[in-house]
């Protein structure tokens, strides 16, 4: 099986600096626009930072669900690509994702999903540069484990909170 780029995520190492969002939006939008970033850090409680981006499920439920064939899988990177001309902003892909990862762009309302920057993701560079490694890129064979990362961020947050704060973590979330 072919190796593809995947972004490893370790929420516990995320500081919440959100430089990943800054460079994502610089790359895709040309300017700093955190709400348009394809990687989004959820921060439901101080210290509980959740790294939220496309997990590249092996069965691509969002692509399957799109009623107008606006979503496709890149043959090289295996990232989900959005055809913004075709996208009707119906939100079906958002609902189809087990992690509620896609979102409608705050500017044009079109579906927005991580495209791995064509195979060389910007977000991981700044995270690794800072020594955090909350996200970093690997080239690996596709694997069913990837889909496990498509999880609603508040559900992940509950796990992180317990990991950080023990019993108190149950309370704060």
């Amino acid at each position: 099986m072919e190796k593809t780029v995947w972004i490893v995520r370790d929420h516990l190492r995320c500081t919440g600096c959100r430089r990943c969002e800054i460079v994502c939006s610089l790359h895709h939008e040309g300017w700093i626009w955190p709400e348009a970033s394809r990687i989004r850090i959820f921060m439901p409680f101080p210290g509980v930072e959740v790294v939220h981006l496309c997990a590249q499920c092996d069965d691509y439920p969002c692509v399957e669900a799109c009623p107008v064939d606006a979503l496709s899988v890149d043959e090289g990177t295996r990232a989900v690509l959005v055809d913004r001309e075709r996208c009707t902003a119906c939100g079906v892909c958002v609902e189809a994702c087990p992690g509620e990862v896609p979102f409608l762009h705050p500017g044009d309302g079109k579906a927005s999903i991580c495209d791995l920057c064509g195979g060389d993701p910007e977000c991981v560079k700044v995270c690794v540069e800072a020594g955090y490694r909350a996200i970093y890129a690997v080239e690996e064979e596709e694997d069913v484990n990837r889909k496990l990362f498509a999880r609603p961020p508040l559900e992940v947050a509950r796990d992180i909170a317990v990991n950080l704060y023990g019993e108190k973590g149950l309370e704060v979330m």
Partner: protein
């Protein structure tokens, strides 16, 4: 349209329930930038003619929450909170790190001006669609943890639109019970353990029945003057910050040992001493037992000096706070006679949750404990024993102050005002034990050993009094990370010279240089602050001949440690003060001269200061 700015401020009158917007003239922004500088200017414009009559805790005062042009662009996004201070009766620019600043800008606002007083507790919700005044009955009385939890859930629910993707949390500034009950030195809080602590603006929010301001914006950051240059500089400044390994690794969390053992400038038992060599209070004892998140940061920050602590076992299980950072370590540790990391973390969590400012409330509690030590305050007065090092007793006292119960009501007036009242009540002058400058309790960096960064006039000559983040130096360098940082509204721990000035030019397009700032803008801002401080009132007026001075304690010799016997020298202080005032263009008593006011474009202040001059 000025670059780097969203271009408008929200203008909310809580008495009338009216929400408006203001656009400030380009020239005002260029002269005062944002944050601290702009706050002083807005306060002067709106309240200047009747300043001495404005009660800081009355509806007439303003609560300002302002960003600056560099906020969210430069590393370390912060919000600057201000108003007429209920402690100094002047203006303090008090900043806290929080995503609230980013969200405000992303919603299209540079800041919020709040006037009046709501009939019932309210909070403000700011989005791209504008601002709403919302009921906060269910939040009033809640501590920090509960407030954040409820607000995050509530706002997320409100912003949720099926099929559009998950909404994220808002950025929030809020007060705890201390602010609600108008504890004069209460903080405006953010993110559980971040505080805009100096100035007492938590009490100002409380006096307005304003529990919180939440913001969630979806817009891009504003346009800047030179975007491509900015992008290059942004990467460069982060590369520089990432090299600061020791600070990134430890934050200020190793200060609780170092500042005492090395520089001998840490408050111990209400500054009766400044030296200790308690290795059990050293950084590793915090780090390896309690730090659960060794790198924690705020928006666009790679300094990540924050580390989160959590107590997971025993009677204080579930306490969450920052490292604690050095100021909390000192003020809620050795200054209360506590040399146990766990006890200090517990008190820090208590203080944060109550919405006290750790430095200021820690100072007031130590003041009370010294009075207890001296037999001036008794067990009968307090209802319990207040021995140095008794964590549970200080925990209890912090709650009493926050609720203004028993002795807490008196201590809730802050160290200076409490000292005046206790002196009257007990018939003993207790003001020599009050370690404050112009009503602002002094930060945890002493001057007696002359080994720490504040100069002998660092606090005495500063228009922000005891604020350790804005100490007086030479009328040049002190305009940089403190006055510029608080007005550009970025974190001083991310300050990089010269990159911050280059980024300031790329963002605003204005001719901002370090030299120009230090000789013109910075001095304009400090001079305006000095004028408002001198005008003071209505309950307190500072006497330039008496009050621009160090606390009496700093003239007592250090009793222990390698710098035993050292103290502030009055002649040196007087000489340095004269030099400083002269460099600032103020007269020998610290009153800005007419020529200086003219040169800085502040001539409108002259009629108000004329009578003060000799």
């Amino acid at each position: 349209m000025p670059r780097g700015y969203a271009g408008r401020l929200l203008d909310v009158d809580l008495s009338e329930g009216r929400i408006g917007e203001v656009r400030l003239p380009w020239r005002t922004l260029e002269e005062f930038l944002g944050g601290r500088g702009l706050a002083a200017k807005i306060l002067w414009d709106r309240l200047g003619d009747r300043w001495p009559k404005v009660d800081p805790l009355g509806p007439e005062n303003l609560l300002l929450a302002l960003t600056g042009p560099l906020t969210a662009f430069y590393p370390g996004a912060r919000i600057c909170v201000s108003g007429k201070s209920p402690l100094s009766n002047g203006v303090v620019g008090s900043t806290a790190s929080t995503e609230f600043a980013l969200e405000l800008k992303a919603a299209g606002y540079d800041g919020v001006i709040v006037s009046g007083r709501a009939e019932r507790p309210v909070y403000l919700l700011i989005t791209d669609e504008g601002c709403e005044i919302k009921d906060a009955g269910h939040l009033w009385g809640r501590n920090g943890e509960e407030t954040l939890r409820i607000l995050n859930r509530e706002v997320r629910g409100e912003l949720s639109k099926p099929g559009r993707g998950l909404p994220r949390e808002p950025g929030v500034i809020y007060i705890g019970p201390a602010g609600e009950n108008r504890v004069r030195n209460a903080a405006v809080m953010a993110k559980l353990f971040h505080a805009a602590g100096y100035g007492g603006y938590g009490a100002v929010m409380g006096s307005k029945n304003l529990k919180a301001i939440a913001a969630k914006g979806a817009k891009p950051l504003p346009e800047v003057a030179a975007p491509e240059t900015f992008k290059v500089l942004w990467r460069e400044v982060h590369r520089e910050l990432i090299k600061r390994d020791r600070f990134r690794r430890w934050g200020t969390g190793y200060g609780g040992y170092f500042v005492a053992a090395d520089t001998s400038s840490e408050p111990i038992r209400n500054w009766q001493e400044e030296w200790h060599d308690e290795r059990g209070f050293g950084g590793p004892h915090f780090q390896f037992k309690f730090w659960v998140k060794p790198y924690h940061a705020d928006f666009n920050c790679t300094t990540s000096c924050m580390k989160i602590s959590c107590i997971k076992t025993g009677r204080w299980r579930g306490d969450i706070t920052d490292m604690p950072d050095y100021e909390m370590e000192a003020y809620l540790g050795p200054n209360l006679g506590v040399f146990d990391p766990e006890g200090t973390i517990h008190l820090s969590a208590v203080i944060d949750n109550l919405g006290h400012s750790g430095i200021n409330a820690g100072n007031t509690m130590a003041f009370a404990a010294e009075l207890y030590q001296r037999g001036i305050l008794t067990e009968e007065d307090l209802g319990f024993k207040l021995e140095w090092g008794d964590v549970e007793a200080f925990d209890r006292l912090a709650h009493l102050i926050a609720r203004r119960e028993g002795i807490g009501d008196l201590l809730a007036e802050g160290t200076y005002r409490a000292a005046l009242r206790i002196s009257e009540w007990k018939g003993v002058d207790v003001t020599p034990y009050a370690v404050h400058v112009k009503g602002i309790e002094v930060g945890a960096h002493g001057i007696r050993s002359d080994k720490d960064y504040p100069t002998p006039i660092g606090y005495a000559a500063s228009p922000q009094g005891g604020d350790h983040t804005s100490t007086t130096r030479d009328a040049y360098e002190d305009m940089t990370w403190s006055v510029f940082g608080d007005s550009a509204v970025v974190c001083s721990f991310c300050y990089h010279d010269p990159l911050i000035w280059e980024i300031a030019r790329a963002v605003t397009g204005w001719d901002i240089s370090k030299h120009r700032w230090c000789t013109e803008h910075g001095r304009r801002i400090l001079t305006l602050q000095q004028a408002l401080l001198l005008l003071g009132g209505p309950d307190v007026y500072w006497d330039p001949d008496r009050d621009f001075d160090n606390p009496p304690r700093f003239y007592e010799p250090l009793p222990t440690g390698p710098y035993k016997g050292m103290k502030a020298d009055r002649e040196t202080v007087e000489r340095m003060k004269r030099d400083y005032f002269q460099a600032m263009g103020w007269d020998e008593r610290g009153i800005p001269t007419r020529e200086t006011l003219e040169r800085l474009g502040l001539s409108y202040l002259d009629p108000h200061l004329r009578e003060m001059r000799r």
